[in-house]
Symmetry: C2
Subunit: 443 residues, 2 copies
């Protein structure tokens, strides 16, 4: 028997690898899920990634998958679900004591889609309180004295720690990209509005987006395709060298040295591979989006938590109570002005991209900070959430403590397939059969 | 004692009138709610507007409001809530047997906002199955052999029948405007995205909008303001004569004679009052939006009902099962192409409005049709839902059977206050202190 988490143990497989083995009859879902559960049993006392885990129920799903014909591309694959997304019959805690005793009646649309593709819902992963800023107990898998980022803390930590190959997260400001970048996994926030949100507890509904984390881009694409319900063709390779913009942005001066180094090194490497990269200067007025985001976020969070604040204010964290209280101070006119500004910039982005495929930008401001009281700085993620653009973070660099520092690629709106293809090409130069290093001149 | 529903009985008051009396100590919430309940007891066996009504619980709320200082502008006012919106502790049936036994844990954001303003949640009103096309038992209050429209059937019928002064509804295609127009009440669908949807069961989340019905525009504005949380100043009068576009549209040829007459007569009357009205010709390509709407609606409904279809297909209506089944046949690429088209047209609408305040358009195709098997034709409402524009229907005309035929005003995106002001001026020429009939020449 292979020890859990040993090289070659099922829990270390990617979802794509495991799905191929299951499909070929060389691995059972039961063995895969058991391997994940065994590894969780060892590591959970340190990582605290799970809000709800029921090993017997997970194994029952796995055995059912083993006993039937393949339902879809995720047949038998364990998936973790952030604890703000409903799973029928499983307590869903929202990272808040207010939801003690809440058991959803139905699966969220995203969970139902995963099940239809054959997934095993392994368990619920820790979220910051209502997908906001007050963290749960999750630690960084590589440095237990540091935050894993948030609010999708448990999803990022569980995937990074090989507890599960793939997980659902949600992003309102930076809640997928930041924890994925800190934990050294791939995190993908699709174009706003394209992943069905029925059964998601809203934070700020103008931004809330369901996405996924995995240890490579193929796995992200595998889960994304199950959610959008499209064909399962593997990711292609770009036919011509990508054309990128690099956005150092209005916050470059305050970026950590490792963040700047991650961008500069990525630019050099990609240029060496034949990628054309131009600077995207900070557009005039772009910085005003930060304030619009604050207004929309506060106005909407106050309203989506109106019941909680009205009946259970004493069980909200101080930080969340401030967000909600501040949110009620914005007038409808403030809110509408902020929406107008956001909508104007969403339109303008198509022109700013020009003929380029994606924007290369910092994902996080340095490696994961010490301490568990904060999930880190959202300022390098949130503008892309406001702009409704797809974004992916890739584990391309490390900081002074050897911890991961992600680099972000931001795609054109609704061009998510192209972004995933590009991200794979950027991340996997050795695995890709053809890079443009050798043939850039001939294209 | 005034008999329920006699002229001057509390249940016949508008919410604005009742709120003023309650505030002046001349009416109690208990008396108002009791009057509504008494009238409901008489009429419900014919109208079937209610999915869940608990008189004792409603009276307990009313007595609590009577015993405390005013919470807000709706203090003590009964409000009905469409049965796809969560009310904590109250069964919420979604118009489907699948949700038998579902009792929400929390109030929807919209319900919490009403409660914060002092409202009494009177009960849950009948919805078509999952806010779709398969109707519940509600009848037209003025003609029990006819549909009241849908999917917000119970909300429109209850308000029209003086069972409750105001009600929440939702619109995905035409589910507020159509039943309000058939039942002869004012129905308002705000700008998409501005009324918080936490706790709403999604139909098609790119369109789903919470709105309200009432017997006059002031009441619509009263509830709207409680939901957006803005100041409670009464609606003003336009300072200059409004400038309107009239859109006869690509479906004019198939419009019922009473629908055409309603538009033509409204145009004449408004011109007599000094309103400038220009024709908005059908823009090239506008008709393609119908197909985009079908794709987005089907794709999203299939996903938001994935759990229901997966586990309880036999308890979906045949019509809904077809919608869901068809929805899964659209590819992600079909869906993205439809979203792109919708987003392009949303941008373009600002130019099409030009300097005009609103578009005058048909609300419904004729008066409410006979029979309860269908809620009527959505084709005159749904394009404005797709375009994310605010829309209001006003009971300005009647059909050959003497039943109401609404006329629709469609506002500029996010300019909802202006639309309400304009709607009041159009509907209440006698009540308004100044119309432009007398002074149009001097402005």
């Amino acid at each position: 028997m292979i020890e859990p988490d040993a090289p070659g143990a099922p829990n270390r497989l990617t979802a794509t690898e495991a799905a191929a083995l299951i499909s070929a009859g060389r691995l059972s879902s039961s063995a895969l899920v058991q391997s994940c559960l065994d590894h969780i049993a060892t590591r959970e006392p340190v990582v605290h990634a799970w809000a709800n885990l029921n090993p017997a129920a997970a194994m029952a799903q796995a055995r059912a998958r083993d006993a039937e014909a393949a339902l879809g591309a995720l047949h038998g694959i364990p998936v973790a679900v952030k604890d703000v997304i409903d799973v029928a019959g499983v307590p869903t805690g929202m990272g808040s004591p207010i939801y003690d005793g809440y058991v959803p009646f139905a699966d969220a649309a995203s969970v139902a889609a995963l099940r239809s593709a054959g997934a095993v819902i392994l368990g619920k992963t820790v979220t910051a309180e209502f997908a906001g800023v007050s963290p749960g107990p999750t630690t960084h898998p590589a440095a237990p004295d540091r935050t894993p980022g948030g609010s999708s803390s448990g999803s990022a930590a569980a995937v990074a720690d090989h507890m599960v190959p793939v997980a659902l997260g949600t992003q309102t400001g930076g809640s997928i990209i930041r924890p994925a970048a800190f934990c050294g996994v791939v995190g993908f926030k699709p174009s706003f509005g394209t992943i069905n949100r029925a059964g998601l507890k809203f934070a700020a509904e103008s931004f809330d987006t369901i996405g996924m984390m995995a240890r490579d881009v193929d796995d992200v694409a595998l889960v994304w395709r199950a959610l959008v319900g499209t064909a399962t063709a593997p990711l292609g390779t770009p036919e011509t060298p990508p054309r990128l913009l690099v956005f150092r942005g209005h916050q470059w001066d305050r970026a950590a040295p490792e963040t700047r180094a991650a961008i500069e090194r990525t630019v050099c490497r990609l240029r060496d591979r034949g990628v054309g990269i131009e600077e995207l200067p900070v557009p005039a007025g772009f910085a005003e989006l930060s304030n619009a985001r604050v207004v929309i976020n506060g106005y909407e969070r106050a309203r989506s938590l109106a019941w909680e604040a009205h009946h259970h204010a004493e069980r909200l964290s101080g930080a969340m109570l401030r967000v909600v209280t501040d949110g009620w101070t914005y007038s409808y006119d403030d809110y509408v002005a902020a929406i107008r500004l956001a909508e104007t910039w969403r339109m303008r982005m198509a022109d700013l991209f020009g003929g380029h495929d994606a924007i290369l930008a910092a994902a996080v401001n340095g490696e994961a900070p010490r301490g568990l009281a904060s999930t880190g700085d959202a300022s390098f993620q949130e503008v892309w959430s406001l702009l409704h653009l797809p974004a992916i973070t890739l584990p391309l660099a490390a900081g002074p403590s050897g911890l991961p520092v992600g680099v972000q690629l931001v795609g054109r709106r609704l061009d998510d397939s192209r972004l995933l293809e590009l991200a794979k090409w950027v991340l996997d130069p050795c695995k890709s059969p053809s890079s443009f290093e050798s043939d850039a001149g001939s294209s």
